[in-house]
Structures are given as structure tokens and as C-alpha cells.
Amino acid sequence: MTKDNILRFLRRNGALLVLLVILTAVSTAAPGILRWRAINGLLKDNAPMLVMIVGATLPILLGCLDLSIAAMASLAAVVAAMLAPTLGSFSAVVVVAGASVIGAVQGYLIGRLQVPSFVISLGALGIFKGVAMYLTGAAMVGIQPGIWVYDLLGGRVFGMSNSFVLVLIVAGLFAAMLKFTNLGRNIYAFGANEIAVYISGVRRDWVRSFAFAASAGCAALGGVMMISQTMFASATVAGSLLLPTLVGVIVGGTAISGGVGGVLSSLIGGLIAILIRVGVTISGLPPESQDVAFGITILIAVALTTDRAKIGLVK
């Protein structure tokens, strides 16, 4: 095997290998983790992050970055909680659909204004946060039990968290979209060479809008899942999820330079992120070292997956 082939193999399957290694390490240190209840609990608690990871994969496949997802999840949670008393289950649908539209506008603006995605989404982060703060008056918003959709998401079927089942469904849908549709083909090609794709007659703005709509929609779904678990929302409820989400996507092998990866690898990356967290906890380190671990993991993962031929000058 040449060095190239080894690198490619690692890029393709590295995340799975890392997952197995960490799983082995963690379960050796704390065998209790392997019990179904513990796993299920972890998956349920982290379902919001996992669904955000699925959505966040799409902009990154284009080579863009959506920094607004966590703020969008918080905003969605707040709005859903406020609408729930009047709209009931329908509030969740409204929130996810509305978020998708806002995401699509973000994606469209990147092309129209020609402002880099991280600037647009950084700005959007601020806007979402500000609006959520304003709506809640910086206080918590609670919901009452008895609304079908939130009860459903908070519950379980066959012993498995419904939220996590929904994560799998969403991931499956996106994976199928990426594999079997023209849009999916365009997304990968866009990430590999945007100009060539433009000259091939692909509508760049539409592709970008779709990716950011997916990312915002999934973030909103994550927000809905959060209120279904805790029964309350606040303007910063999901704020801490941005970085773990990006860690998940990148560690899964979706290159920040675009064109490589997929939602299923991101899910694996998400599981790694969860295990890092668990590992930090059981190793007795203070929980804050998570951030250090995430920061360093992000750097290593990016270093391994970035396609350097594509970067002329490093800025």
C-alpha cells in the first residue's frame, strides 16, 4: 500500500477506528458504560447534538461553515416553548420549518452578498441570540407536559429513546439524499471544485441555500428535542453545543475544505465526541478539560483531513 492509499484508508475509516479504540478504552476503565441503560441514556441526552451534527455536515461538505447552529437551536427551543401553549404539537413543525427558511436565506446571502459563510453565520449567531434574549427577557420558558410531540420525543420505543430514533431517521434521509439525488451529487462536487461546478451549470445559490436550510432546520429540531427532555428553554440553552457539534463533524472525517465525508461519518464523529466527554468524566479529570480535549481534537482532525493541495496560501 502506498502512503497515499494508507492516508485515504485512514481518512475513510479512521473515525470508526478511533471510535472503537476510545470505546474500548472507556469501557475498560468503566465497564458499567456498556450497559444498555447507560448507552441509551447517553444517546438520549446527546440526541440534540447528534441531530445538529447531521445538519451541520452539509455546509461543511460545501467547504462552508455554519457558526449559527447552536444559537438557532436555542432560539428554536425558546420559540417552540412560547408557541406550544397555543399551537400544541404544531409548534415544533412551525419552528423547524421557519428555521429552514431562515437558513436558506443565510445560504442565499452568502452568494448574493459574497460574504464568507463564517461572517454571515457569525452575524446570524448574534441576531438569533439577541432575539432569543429579547423574547425571553433572559429568563427561562417552561412548557407543560401533555403536548403530544414533546412527550413523544421525550419518550422511548422498544427501550430506545425516540429522539435518538428520530436522529437515525433524519440521518438516513440525508444520507439517501446525498447518495441518490442530483442535489447530493452537486453538493459533493461543489465542495470539490466550486468554480468547475458553476461552469457545469449547477445553480450555486440553490445548493448553498439548501445546505444552510438543512443545517438550520436540524438545529431547530435539536432545540425541540432539548425542550422535550428538560421541559424548559432559555436563550442560551444550546449555546455550548456549537463546538462539540463541529468537533463531531470534523472528527467524523468531513473535511473542512469540502467535498469529502458524509452524514453517517459525522454521526460516528458525534459518538466520538460523546465518548470524549464520558472519558473525561470517568477519568476523574475536571469536566472543564472537555474543552481542552475538544480544542486539541479539532486541530488534529483538521490537520489530518484537510486537502492541502486546495489551499494555496494559508491565511
Binding site: T181, N182, R185, A192, V197, I199, S200, V202, R203
Partner: protein, 505 residues
């Protein structure tokens, strides 16, 4: 008459292409050597070798009779060789003074802090040499292009305080961005500096070469085909020399018979893109191959990109099968049945790190799908394999990465993306054979002819004269953004190569 600088037997290859083939050149002290040649004749490569930007594969470079290695522009500078760049190398946010000494070891700083007085004096001295009366602390962004060119020249001339002996100054198409008075000013400066330096001057314009040069050095196909003293230059002979190997063998020529459609596929009226093309009109019929030819920067590529919806601003009229073409993006152009094969294969044509099949199917794959945006890779596979066979694309399989194919095969893959659909009516080819070996070129030619025979309207920006003479039904020659000659009925009565070159330079 001592030789200041010489190249002996320089060769340079880029991948499959030989850019310089055993080229020698000598430069006498105090002379201006005019360098001419067509696109791809190797003249810019030879300039880059002299400037230390390219290292030759073999051959010697001598300065004042001593063999030197030029591994970087800095090493060239310390040997007394400086280049006045075509794309200007000045930093516009810095002052003139800072730019003059940007690449010099003495920076007029102490512990990283500028000594402005010292810098001003040194800069003033250099600007005086080129008679440029501006404040040395003017930001370059506030200068005209002509003034910037003078600053570039002063930057090169300031080498003389650093280097013992004679300077060699290379001008790479310095007149491209200048207006006539600025060109005159430049020429008088070149004449002034001759007493202490030798000059190599590259231009696409024959009249300029003849005005400024003492000797003319002609390149063709990576070789030096002739060197003539100004006293006994025969212009027609120069054109003939520039044509070189591209002369079409009239006996072997197989004229094609075009069957043109009645209604023009494309009609351009007075199309102008500010700063690039002006007042372009042309018509293209189904079944016709229209060849566009011109030196680099003559605007032929801009015409294609404007039709394809890629121009940021343009004026004029484009009609497409009798109806106005109002599009703003390639996506709309493709929707109407127009295809475009870009010249920059690696950056604009192929989708790197992606398989051959995805590259072919990117544009029209959906037309063979199941509807509703679903694609059918199984159905595509059969069709793509058909094209691979038909175009003789050498690839282990269609799921192989495009990056690993040779240049010619990559180009065929990119071309097949346009042939893959069912709706293409006009195909625009921008230097389709650039960087291809002769075998791949003739394969590609055969395909293009066949497409035209099937009724496709083809607009071809050609790399070489033999390309248009062999392929085109009509030829439009471009010069400085305008049409400088139109030739109809090329297949029946081909024009001479010299005629085309004359219209180009």
C-alpha cells in the same frame, strides 16, 4: 561589443510539454533585444528562466562569461538581472519608496523602525534615474499605470548600486496596460538606460518590437528560429518564422464539408465588455465551426464567457436562435443548450478528487435519472462507458479518480460532460488542446468535427494556427479586444498562416 549575458542550450519541460528545447541566447552590452513569438512559443518561459522564476532542466546561464545559478528572483537580482513584470509586482498600499527597496537587502530600518529621511533620499535618487518627479512617499495606489511601470523600472535600476557591472533588464509585455503617450515615455527611458544595461523586450505587437529593438529574436515551438539585426529585418519573413512548425501541410489537409443550418444559432451584435472586448459582432450557424484566434489577452476567451453568462457587466445584443439571450449565469446558459469547455482544466474544468463518472454526469446526469431529482447511477454507468469507449478515454474504470488520468484524458472527460445530455445545441471550446500531446489533440479534433457534422454549433478558441486552419469553417482574428480580420470559407480556400499572424500582432 562584449557579451553581457548568455543562455546556452537551455531546455525546460513541464510534464508532457516541452516549453524550451535547447535554446541559446546572447545579449551584447547596451543592446535591446526584441523577443517575439506566438502563444506557447516559449518566450515567457525563457524570460522566467532568466529572471530566476523557473530553473532550467539543462543548459548554462552565464553572466559576464561566468556560469551562474539562478534559483530565485533574489539570486537573479544579485547577478544584476531584474524583471519589469507584466502583472505588476508593486504593493499598492505601500509607498513608492518602500516598493523600490522591497527586495533589496538594505531596508533603511534600524531595529525594525524605518529611517524615513534616509529612505526618502535613496528613493529620490532612484526616481531621478527614470525622470519620475513624484513624492517618494506617495502610495502606489495613487499612481497611474504608466507611473507604476516607471517605478517598476526604477526598482530594477536600483540594482546597479548593489551589483558590480552591467545590468540585464527584462521587460515582459510592459506595454499591455499602457496608453500611447505612456508607451513613448517608456521607450525613451529604455533608450536612456541602454548605456548601462542590456534589455530584453517582449511584446505581442510587431510595431513596438521594430521600434525599440536593435536585434529581433524569434521563437517558435520552444526554439529560437532566427535572430535578425534591425538593419536587415524583413517583416514578412518574421511572420513566416513565427508560424514555424504550425504550417499546415496542404497536401495532407482533409477539408471538411459543413452543412450549415439556416437559422443562426448565435448572433452577437456589438458586444462590449469594458476593458476586455469592444464591439464584437459575429454569427454562428448550427453545424459550423467558428475559429477564434488571437494572442493572449486579445479577448477571445471573454467572448465565450460573456455568452455563457459569466461576464459581470457587458453591453450589446446576443441572439440565440433568433431570440434575445438574457441570461446571468452558466446555469441558465446550460438550460438553454449552451456548453462551455474552459481553458483552465485543473481549476475550472475538472472536479478534482472525484471519479470520472461523477465528472461526466455532473451537468446532465439528471436527464437520465428517475425524475424528481433522483439519479440513476446504473443507467448513467452504461452511457458513460459508451462515451469512454467512443472518445477512447484511457482509464482503468469510470469510478477511477480523474486526477490520476493524463491531461488529454482529463480533457476528454470534461468534454464528455457536455456530450452526455440530450439538449446541447452550442458548444464553446476555450483552448481545448492546451497542454495535450499530439495524439490526444488529433483524437479531440476528430470528435469536434464529428459533433459539428451532427449539427452542433461550435465556437472554438484555438491555441494554434493549424488548429483553426484544419478545423474551422470561418475564422475571426482578434487583436486588443477587437476583431482584426474575418475569413469565410476557410475549408475551401484557406488563408495563409502569415495572413493570420499579421492580423494577430
Amino acid at each position: 561589443m562584449t557579451t553581457a549575458f548568455s543562455l546556452e542550450g537551455i531546455s525546460k519541460r513541464f510534464g508532457e510539454v516541452t516549453a524550451l528545447d535547447n535554446v541559446s541566447l546572447s545579449l551584447v552590452e547596451g543592446e535591446v533585444l526584441g523577443l517575439i513569438g506566438q502563444n506557447g512559443s516559449g518566450k515567457s518561459t525563457i524570460m522566467k528562466v532568466m529572471a530566476g522564476l523557473h530553473r532550467p532542466d539543462s543548459g548554462l546561464i552565464k553572466v559576464g562569461g561566468r556560469v551562474v545559478q539562478l534559483r530565485s528572483p533574489l539570486e537573479a537580482a544579485s547577478a544584476g538581472i531584474g524583471m519589469v513584470h507584466q502583472e505588476q509586482s508593486l504593493i499598492t498600499s505601500l509607498t513608492v519608496a518602500e516598493n523600490l527597496f522591497l527586495d533589496k537587502p538594505a531596508t533603511s530600518t534600524r531595529m525594525g523602525v524605518y529611517k524615513w529621511g534616509d529612505l526618502r533620499d535613496r528613493a529620490k535618487h532612484q526616481l531621478d534615474k527614470v525622470e519620475l518627479d513624484i513624492d517618494p512617499f506617495t502610495p502606489v495606489s495613487e499612481l497611474s499605470f504608466g507611473q507604476r511601470q516607471m517605478v517598476e523600472l526604477a526598482k530594477v535600476l536600483s540594482l546597479e548600486e548593489l551589483v558590480q557591472g552591467h545590468l540585464v533588464i527584462l521587460f515582459d509585455e510592459p506595454t499591455a496596460v499602457l496608453n500611447p503617450p505612456e508607451i513613448d515615455a517608456l521607450f525613451s527611458q529604455i533608450r536612456r538606460i541602454k548605456h548601462r544595461s542590456s534589455v530584453v523586450f517582449v511584446s505581442h505587437r510587431m510595431d513596438e518590437i521594430l521600434t525599440i529593438s536593435d536585434r529581433v529574436y524569434v521563437m517558435s515551438d520552444g526554439r529560437n528560429v532566427a535572430t535578425r539585426d534591425k538593419a536587415n529585418v524583413n517583416v514578412d519573413e518574421l511572420y513566416e518564422l513565427m508560424v514555424g512548425k504550425q504550417r499546415v501541410n496542404r497536401q495532407d489537409r482533409k477539408p471538411r464539408e459543413a452543412h450549415l443550418g439556416d437559422q443562426p444559432a448565435l448572433t452577437l451584435k456589438n458586444v462590449t465588455v469594458p476593458g476586455e472586448i469592444e464591439g464584437i459582432s459575429l454569427t454562428l450557424a448550427p453545424g459550423e465551426i467558428l475559429g477564434l484566434i488571437g494572442v493572449q489577452g486579445s479577448g477571445a476567451e471573454t467572448i465565450l464567457r460573456t455568452i455563457f453568462g459569466m461576464a459581470d457587466e457587458w453591453t450589446g445584443n446576443i441572439e440565440y436562435f433568433g431570440k434575445p439571450l438574457t441570461i446571468d449565469s452558466p446555469a441558465e446558459a446550460v438550460h438553454k443548450g449552451i456548453g462551455y469547455l474552459p481553458a483552465e482544466r485543473k481549476t475550472e474544468g475538472m472536479i478534482r478528487n472525484t471519479s470520472v463518472s461523477e465528472n461526466v454526469a455532473i451537468t446532465y446526469g439528471w436527464q437520465h435519472g428517475r425524475g424528481g431529482g433522483m439519479i440513476s447511477r446504473a443507467k448513467e454507468r452504461g452511457l458513460i462507458e459508451g462515451w469512454v469507449k467512443k472518445l477512447a478515454i484511457k482509464t482503468p474504470s469510470i469510478s477511477h479518480r480523474i486526477d490520476n488520468l493524463s491531461g488529454g484524458n482529463q480533457q476528454k472527460v470534461v468534454l464528455s460532460k457536455w456530450l452526455f445530455g440530450k439538449t446541447l445545441k452550442v458548444l464553446m471550446l476555450d483552448h481545448p488542446t492546451r497542454g495535450l500531446d499530439p495524439g490526444a489533440r488529433s483524437d479531440l479534433f476528430a470528435v469536434i468535427r464529428e459533433l459539428a457534422d451532427q449539427g452542433l454549433a461550435i465556437l472554438l478558441v484555438a491555441d494554434t494556427l493549424d488548429e483553426v486552419l484544419n478545423m474551422a469553417d470561418s475564422i475571426i482574428v482578434m487583436k486588443d479586444g477587437r476583431v482584426s480580420a474575418r475569413i469565410e470559407g476557410v475549408q475551401a480556400a484557406p488563408p495563409s498562416e502569415e495572413e493570420l499572424v499579421k492580423a494577430m500582432v
